[in-house]
């Protein structure tokens, strides 16, 4: 149990990536979040692999500089010296050579690395486990995994990512480094790493030497010389234990003093208010101040009890000793409680603003006494419940979920055949579980032992050809390049770039910038898809040729597929080519006769008694503007507007009947022509303002932005700042009424086939459409073309 109980101050492994080694952290705080999760505020430790090579060299130099530690390592060196191939770096062996640094240089020289590798191979086969008997390289190598760098960096991680405890200690020069290897999960550090400044520093204070720092020594007084100071100047005796009184006598005197105090309280009017009962008076008289006074009195009267008692009852009446607790009136106490609630323990502030007639000392004294009262306990309880989010410990069960890096495709029996490779670290051929490790193309794998070693210590037990501890900078770049070659970041805009080809970007960040600057379209992280909404909308105007090509090259275009996968690029040039070819074969290509006439609004409108003629002109007026030149070529024009209502994607070709026909095989033309009408029919509202509102299908007409559309039908990019917002549907009371008329079945059918006309009897056969008409045509329809 206690193993899984994590406390503030514990050193723990954190898993933030399934393949990367654990991170080593120290828990500084445990906080409960509002949703009941526990977050750990942790102090970061860095591994050698986490910091740059140059700093590692510095760190090793630092170790060398510390003689003791140099020796320390020399000890290992010496111990390991007999191995003839131990000194791979050549040159005369200098005794102070730091083995870690030695290895550091090996990192850079592949040849040395390979010799090591051979060594390790042998050792790996021979050695049963960790221990002194193993060969030098291995130990040195493994020691590198135990060194950490403290940082002052604090981060917050979910406590559920804790994967066990470890132990991190400041390296002490008396310790053998090897002792760390003998214990699991132990690490050492000696330097502090600053991740911002990329610096290392020793975490050490300094005792300074110089006359500015040391005390001037006082010579021992010579024999006859004495201290001239009088003790009366230095101290005042308050109690002398050689009083000649027995314990009992003192106790008795204390009781007398308390009795006198009780009596004094009985006589004192202010006290009787405070302590209405004798019991309370007695309690008040038993407070420490009375006893201290009694002791002082005894001392002052040279421990003569009779005299002391006399002084307790001087001529004026019994002596009354009251401490701050008693001295303060109830109102003062209330004032203080209010003050402390407001000001906290800013006693200066409290004194100034609440209790100016009290001295600071008496407020402080009162405060510490007040803390013993129930009132304080209550306040504390409230505070405690507030501070409940701060936990002292948290229980995290063992993490048992399989790691995604685990190789699961083969059963145990066949494990040898997965890659035919032995463990990358220990070269064993058998393991219950294998884990893929390193870059994918290398197909390396680790046995379960080495995998857990890798996770904990961030390296392999043995140096490897991959040097898995830390990819060298060039390696890293290679990897990045590899990844990029696989998945080049592409701009999804067809017309983008100087060349017709779409621009490619090496990094997503570049693409992001490109998208943002030249298309005004930021990209959501994790998706190549721009955050579209309506930001940069443009209309696609199909030329006749396009439309023909859609028909002719349907097999190439695979429109259904294309609609389903709108982000897969379509080879337009091929289609164009093919289309040309096919066209030449059939020069007199006509649009197929098989042409579904979409439902028109006319019957509905007629039924509604709307004067269509009245309505149409407004539509048609706008039309020419809208359609531009293309319009003339449309085979058929449809008067109705087709408004897709709702917040759906604005791939709406609006008010262009021919578009529908050109919608070709996208089946239903994705319009709900009559919805709007119904709605409008329902809006039997007279006032222009309201009608206007009621007519709002797309609130951008309200915004007055509608002017941006329809200027031309060229494929047009509208600056996102000026771009209209999404279409949304405002349900009016009338629409709601209509909805109520609908059967459930109708609803369902409609939902499934949104383009179907809806045959509903309008509740209010009114011709109040007129007011809205003026606006509706201006409703911009945005088309997003992302091939």
């Amino acid at each position: 149990m206690s193993a899984n109980m994590y406390r503030v101050g514990d050193y723990v492994f954190f898993e933030t990536s399934s393949t990367a080694p654990y991170q080593i952290r120290r828990i500084e705080e445990l906080n409960k979040t509002q949703n009941g999760n526990v977050e750990a505020k942790v102090m970061c430790f860095y591994r050698r692999r986490d910091i740059s090579n140059s700093l590692i060299i510095l760190a090793d130099k630092h170790h060398n500089a510390l003689d003791e530690e140099g020796e320390e390592k020399r000890e290992i060196d010496d111990e390991l010296a007999p191995k003839p191939d131990g000194e791979t770096n050549g040159g005369p062996l200098s005794p102070a050579k730091d083995p870690v640094e030695e290895n550091g240089t090996e990192n850079n020289s592949p040849t040395n690395g390979s010799t090591n590798n051979n060594n390790n191979h042998q050792a790996g086969v021979g050695a049963g486990g960790l221990g002194m008997e193993e060969i030098p390289e291995k130990l040195r190598h493994q020691l590198k995994h135990r060194e950490l760098f403290l940082s002052r960096q604090v981060e917050t991680l979910p406590a559920t990512h804790i994967r066990g405890k470890c132990c991190v200690t400041l390296l002490n020069e008396t310790e053998s480094l090897l002792s760390y290897l003998n214990k699991d999960d132990t690490f050492f550090y000696s330097l502090v790493y600053d991740p911002q400044q990329k610096t290392l520093l020793a975490d050490k204070g300094e005792i300074r030497v110089g006359s500015k720092y040391q005390a001037e020594m006082i010579p021992k007084l010579s024999e006859g010389e004495g201290d001239v100071r009088k003790s009366e100047d230095l101290e005042e005796l308050v109690w002398d234990p050689l009083h000649g009184l027995s314990e009992k006598e003192i106790d008795q005197f204390q009781i007398i003093a308390r009795s006198v105090g009780t009596f004094a309280r009985a006589l004192d009017c202010t006290s009787t208010v405070r302590q209405p009962s004798l019991h309370m008076s007695a309690a008040a008289a038993s407070r420490d101040i009375t006893i201290f006074h009694a002791m002082n009195t005894l001392h002052q009267h040279k421990y003569n009890i009779a005299k002391a008692i006399q002084s307790l009852v001087p001529s004026g009446g019994p002596v009354l000793c009251r401490d701050e607790m008693e001295e303060w009136s109830a109102s003062e106490a209330n004032l203080f409680e209010d003050a402390i609630e407001q000001y906290g323990k800013d006693f200066n502030g409290i004194r100034q603003d609440f209790l100016p007639w009290k001295s600071l000392k008496s407020i402080v004294e009162y405060y510490y006494m007040w803390k013993t009262t129930d009132r304080y306990v209550q306040q504390k309880r409230i505070k405690a419940s507030e501070a409940e989010s701060k936990l002292k410990q948290v229980y995290i069960p063992n993490y048992n979920k399989p790691n995604p890096a685990a190789i699961t495709n083969k059963l145990n029996g066949a494990d040898g055949q997965v890659s035919g490779r032995a463990c990358e670290s220990c070269y064993t051929a058998h393991s219950n579980q294998w884990y893929s490790w390193g870059p994918v193309h290398m197909q390396c794998r680790l046995c379960s032992n080495c995998w857990s070693y890798w996770k904990k210590y961030g390296g392999l037990k043995m140096p490897t050809r991959l040097d898995g501890e830390r990819p060298a900078p060039n390696q890293r770049q290679e990897r990045i390049a590899q990844m990029n070659s696989i998945r080049m970041q592409k701009c999804t805009f067809t017309g983008c770039g100087k060349v017709s080809q779409r621009q490619e970007f090496k990094l997503k960040a570049h693409l992001n910038r490109h998208m943002a600057t030249s298309h005004g379209m930021p990209i959501q992280p994790g998706s190549p898809r721009p955050v579209m909404k309506t930001r940069a909308a443009f209309c696609l105007v199909t030329t006749e040729l396009t439309r023909i090509s859609r028909r002719l090259c349907r097999d190439l275009l695979r429109p259904r597929h294309a609609t389903r996968c709108p982000f897969t690029p379509i080879n337009t040039s091929l289609i164009k080519q093919e289309c040309q070819l096919r066209l030449s074969e059939r020069p007199s290509y006509q649009q197929p006769a098989k042409y579904r006439t979409p439902a028109t609004l006319d019957p509905v409108v007629a039924r509604l008694g709307i004067d269509i003629k009245q309505e149409k002109p407004s539509l048609l007026l706008k039309g020419p503007n809208y359609g531009g030149g293309d319009r003339s070529s449309t085979p058929k024009e449809r008067p109705q507007e087709n408004v897709k209502v709702g917040s759906g994607h604005p791939s709406i070709m609006k008010k262009r009947g021919y578009e529908q026909t050109n919608g070709v095989d996208s089946g239903p033309a994705a319009k709900r022509p009559n919805m709007g009408v119904i709605r409008q029919a329902g809006t039997a509202i007279k006032t222009p303002g309201v009608t206007r509102r009621g007519s709002v299908l797309n609130h951008n007409s309200v915004n007055g932005r509608s002017r941006f559309c329809g200027k031309s039908m060229r494929m047009q990019l509208v600056g996102w700042m000026d771009n209209p917002d999404d279409v949304y549907f405002v349900a009016t009371a009338a629409t709601r009424k209509i909805r109520k008329q609908l059967q459930m079945n109708d609803f369902k059918r409609l939902a499934r086939n949104p383009w179907k006309t809806l045959n509903v009897k309008p509740p209010l056969p009114s011709g109040s459409l007129s007011g809205s008409n003026g606006h509706r045509p201006t409703v911009p329809q945005e088309v997003v073309v992302l091939d």
Partner: protein
């Protein structure tokens, strides 16, 4: 080890005002804990058993016996209401954050210092055996700098007072923080030995490394025992007693100042040790056993109920007087809930100080202590014959012309103490002795600043080295393969070994990390050194 006189005279210093100084909102240092202690002492009936003194307020003149004039002048004049005028000086004197300017700050320093100085004077006059000032013990304050809640270093001032009558004063610090202020003040003198047991590593004040041993004349007179989190009573005792014993034997002080910082207790707001009152109190008990005048001071301690418990308990120890575990009723009784007991129990935190770790530190400290010139009265003994050993393997690898770092050369210097192999010298392996011999020379040279000796020493080293090298060359090839494995054999069993007197060779290698010494080198250097 000593039979105690039944009663020792205890003087206790306390000013009733001390509890009302307030460092500021949220500041962990609470002088109120001293009042809480006092009230407990009263109600336990300890009050009536000792001399109670109200200390004088130390004067600026007294304070400047250690502190610089301008620093004290600054402390005297700064107040919360005129802080703005002192911006520059506040930075210079490190007053502001940890050491805030609060109302009555200077008075507080005066009272705390007054108690310690008066206590020291009392001890000097032999008017008391133990003087207690729980308001003192502010061990971080520097000569011209406030630090770690401390403004005026009452300890240094107290020790300076003691030095008027005592040739050697021992300062022992069991606060969880390093006693850097006191160590620094006496870093270069041999008249005060500072011994501090403290948490080291990523911890205030950052000093107190094992390698900080003093400088100049004071070299080897600073003893630092760096510790890790969670040390418990048992472990603490296992280091405190042997180290102090050795210190007492080697240094033979005539007065002891013990700083009883209570932040080394379990559950301290700032501390991370796991001591209980018993473990903490044992240190007081142990110090007291030496029958020397003791100045018992307060210090850190930030879970104030435990501080009061601790110091009350330690007062009772000083008085040799048992106290009940049941706390007596007092004004602050409610603070001690929910159990209202005197003693506290340790937490279940892990003790990161392994026995091996502590043994190694201890051994190293013992090695350092052997560098001390023998205190008068320490018996000299003849060197055991088998103490002769080859001087160093190190030398054969070192280029003789190469400069040797001071630290390295220090290591080669032996001290005379090794000749006197007293029984209690439990850690002493032969090799240590060898080392000390050489080191001793160096220390002498250092101390006397005798240039001649230095030169001689250098020559010696140079002379030695070639010899060794020759030998090494011849033997190296042969031994290369053979020697190292044997060395390993020697080493491996020694690893867990503590400082048992046996196994001289293995002991050495494990203990000091000194490079192993090849056999049969310079026996000749031995007699030379003996002359010194």
């Amino acid at each position: 080890m000593t039979t105690l006189p039944p009663k020792r005279k205890i003087c206790y210093y306390y000013d009733g005002d001390i509890g009302n100084y307030y460092y500021g909102q949220g500041h962990p240092m609470k002088p109120h804990r001293i009042r809480m202690t006092h009230n407990l002492i009263l109600n336990y009936g300890l009050y009536r058993k000792m001399e109670i003194y109200r200390p004088h307020k130390a004067t600026a003149e007294e304070m400047t016996k250690f502190h610089s004039d301008d620093y004290i002048k600054f402390l005297r004049s700064i107040r919360p209401d005129n802080m703005a005028e002192y911006n520059k000086q506040m930075q210079r004197f490190n007053v502001g954050e940890d050491c805030p300017v609060f109302d009555g700050m200077y008075e507080f320093c005066q009272l705390s210092t007054g108690g310690s100085v008066a206590g020291a004077v009392k001890l000097n006059k032999q008017a008391a055996d133990i003087a207690i000032n729980w308001a003192g013990g502010l061990h971080h304050a520097k000569k011209s700098e406030a630090s770690g809640f401390c403004y005026v270093n009452d300890i240094v001032l107290g020790i300076l007072e003691l030095l008027k009558y005592h040739q050697r004063v021992l300062y022992v610090d069991i606060d969880i923080h390093h006693g850097d202020g006191v160590e620094e003040a006496f870093y270069t003198t041999d008249r005060v030995m500072t011994v501090s047991f403290h948490k080291y590593g990523e911890y205030f004040p950052g000093t107190g490394d094992l390698r900080d041993i003093g400088a100049g004349k004071g070299k080897y007179y600073a003893v630092n025992f760096p510790l890790r989190d969670g040390i418990d009573d048992e472990s603490y005792e296992s280091i405190f007693k042997p180290v102090i014993t050795r210190v007492m034997e080697m240094y033979q002080p005539s007065a002891i100042v013990l700083q009883c910082g209570a932040d080394s207790l379990s559950g301290d707001r700032l501390g991370c040790f796991n001591l209980t009152l018993k473990g903490h109190g044992k240190c007081v008990e142990f110090i007291k056993k030496w029958n020397l005048p003791v100045l018992l001071l307060g210090g850190g301690g930030y879970t104030i109920r435990n501080v009061a418990r601790c110091w009350t308990y330690e007062t009772s120890i000083a008085l040799n007087c048992d106290v009940a575990n049941e706390l007596p009723y007092n004004d602050y009784f409610e603070y001690y809930g929910p159990d209202f007991k005197l003693h506290i129990s340790p937490s279940n935190m892990a003790n990161q100080n392994t026995p091996e770790y502590m043994d190694k530190i201890k051994t190293r400290l013992f090695d350092n202590l052997r560098m001390l010139p023998h205190a008068p009265g320490v018996q000299m003994q003849a060197i055991p014959e088998d103490a002769l050993h080859d001087e160093s393997d190190e030398d054969d690898k070192v280029n003789p012309d190469q400069r040797i770092s001071i630290r390295q050369s220090d290591k080669r210097i032996a001290c005379e103490e090794e000749f006197s192999d007293s029984e209690d010298e439990d850690g002493g392996g032969r090799k240590d002795k060898r080392d000390h011999k050489k080191k001793r020379q160096k220390t002498e040279a250092d101390d006397k600043k005798d240039g001649e000796k230095d030169k001689k020493e250098e020559k010696e080293v140079k002379k030695e080295a070639p010899e060794v090298k020759e030998e090494a060359k011849t033997s190296q090839e042969k031994d290369d393969k053979a020697a190292a494995p044997t060395e390993k054999k020697e080493n491996s069993p020694s690893a867990p070994k503590s400082e048992s007197a046996a196994a001289p060779v293995t002991d050495n290698s494990s203990k000091d990390k000194e490079p192993e010494v090849a056999a049969g080198t310079t026996a000749s250097s031995e007699p030379e050194k003996m002359e010194h």
